[in-house]
Symmetry: C2
Subunit: 317 residues, 2 copies
């Protein structure tokens, strides 16, 4: 079905379907969304833009997966502060070629992940684009006042931890870009790239345990860890042998002759959490995580076990 036939307001009616707006909230359909405020809490806001040709290619990603991922990358930023999601706002500019079948699939993916994370779509903007699809998502969340975990408080002696395997997503992307054969391992890695599961519950637990700094891993720890170090004015020693890597990725890298450590540190888009925490508080972390290093005086990262390398993470520009 052509979207012109449906019209802007018809499309918005379609989008509204199946969204559970919490009591006391005002969702899609007015000038603004409205959310109640509670004393003792703070509001978190994160926003990301995805452009066809820069962040994705229409031939490479299904509408469902693009919808999922558009929400996931922002939900992950809420996780990175130790917050819970309260709502999302989606703006998109649609090129003429896309019809209702495409938007239906896109919203199926967007709404599925939104429902999993209790993050209702509360507003946005629908417009047309002369050519490329352009998507912008803003997610709001909340955390107990003063308890959001920032990047700036890592202290000397803190442990450096991550919540899961690194590099799967980057390896999946490499498999797509190089047109590799899609065996079972490859499919798993590619799914990790397209359907990330942000670590919201883990982030809340880690914040409650007393993490000193936290962020989500979107550009690889070779880049992301440096943000924490810079903001906190400290350095890091990372034990490269402790970086958790999946069996699928190990097998695939061995098969292709790829450097697994390079991918694990620089591949990007893992959406795992990277955090620092004192050794005492680390014992209180009730969710799965791996200790990969330690905060030390100085600046920059020493890669113990691979001292001759300097992994820098994914570069945007």
């Amino acid at each position: 079905m052509d979207l012109k036939e449906l019209g802007e307001f018809g499309l918005i009616e379609e989008i509204k379907k199946g969204i559970e707006v919490p009591e006391g909230y005002l969702g899609i359909g007015d000038d603004c969304a409205v959310m109640p405020q509670k004393s003792g809490m703070e509001t978190l806001v994160s926003t990301d833009m995805l452009i066809e040709g820069t962040h994705f290619l229409m031939d490479d990603i299904s509408a469902y997966r693009l919808g999922w991922k558009s929400a996931a990358v922002n939900i992950s930023d809420i996780a990175a502060m130790g917050g819970r999601c309260t709502g999302s706002f989606l703006s998109f500019a649609l090129p003429k070629g896309l019809g209702k079948e495409w938007t239906d699939e896109f919203f199926r993916g967007y709404k599925e992940i939104s429902a999993i994370y209790g993050c209702p779509l509360l507003g946005g903007d629908t417009t047309s684009s002369p050519d490329r699809l352009c998507i912008s998502v803003t997610v709001t969340g909340e955390a107990p006042a003063g308890k959001s975990v920032k990047r700036s408080n890592a202290a000397i002696g803190d442990l450096i931890c991550v919540t899961g395997n690194l590099g799967d997503s980057g390896c999946g992307l490499k498999l797509i870009l190089e047109g590799c054969e899609r065996d079972a391992d490859a499919e798993k890695l590619i799914a990790r790239h397209y359907l990330p599961m942000p670590r919201v519950k883990e982030g809340m637990e880690i914040a409650a345990a007393g993490a000193s700094a936290m962020m989500d891993i979107s550009d690889g720890i070779g880049s992301d860890l440096r943000h924490i170090l810079k903001e906190s004015g400290v350095g890091a020693v990372v034990d490269t042998g402790s970086i958790p890597v999946s069996d699928e990725m190990k097998r695939k890298c061995a098969q292709m002759g790829w450097d697994a450590l390079e991918i694990a540190t620089s591949g990007g888009e893992d959406y795992e959490l990277l955090f620092t925490i004192s050794p005492e508080n680390e014992k209180r972390v009730a969710v799965g995580h791996h200790i990969i290093g330690k905060i030390v005086p100085g600046n920059g990262i020493e890669w113990k076990g691979n001292e001759d390398k300097n992994y820098m993470g994914y570069r945007h520009f």
Copy 2:
């Protein structure tokens, strides 16, 4: 200066300059912005997307004016609920041709209007675009809990009011599009198109006076008033002779042979406020406004004085 030279993080450092982040807030530089919550208040969120080739042409609008307008259209949505602004989030995808001179001017405009409205830039996303400039702005605001003015409560007998002259912006756009001579009247009308001044203070006063419904006029009252009517389940009689029109527009329309009433009702982008209010409460409205009609039983708009016309407002699709 080439932005590649400055780099993503260099650009972000430039953007941060001169922004006053209120105490207790966390602005640009972490995974999320953080804003304190207060009991007795509610949070307002609005978002809009502007695409080169759909919403603006680079040759037609200066970087300064585009920066101003990008913020203005969202600030106006906060005004439309009777709220005050608390912060903004700006994402943009820059095509390669644009250098630091362009972004400097864009941010000068964006920050000037943000400072006027006390709406600090608290976060966003900077990325690259293969060709077209794409901008997405989200603005947050707040209002006393339960006091945001929605579109759905217009009641029979309420007066229909607007805060200022209608059609100036639409007339300015028409002058640009038709390449007309830019005399003093034309320049004033064009400035109203490029540098709208959202009615935030007026919106707060009107809300406090007890308006029953309110929205900002972005598509012309021929379209916007219909949203209030539909959401409230009522009809309207508009006295076309009472629609306020500027002298500049009157003169320009007479000169060009344009239908001033058509432009005033369908021109769009006025960013004045349209509200309904009981006759008793209307007396309490302490800011300038014009009564243009009355809410009646039924649906749709009767244009008193021009009964044969049916102005429909600006059409996006």
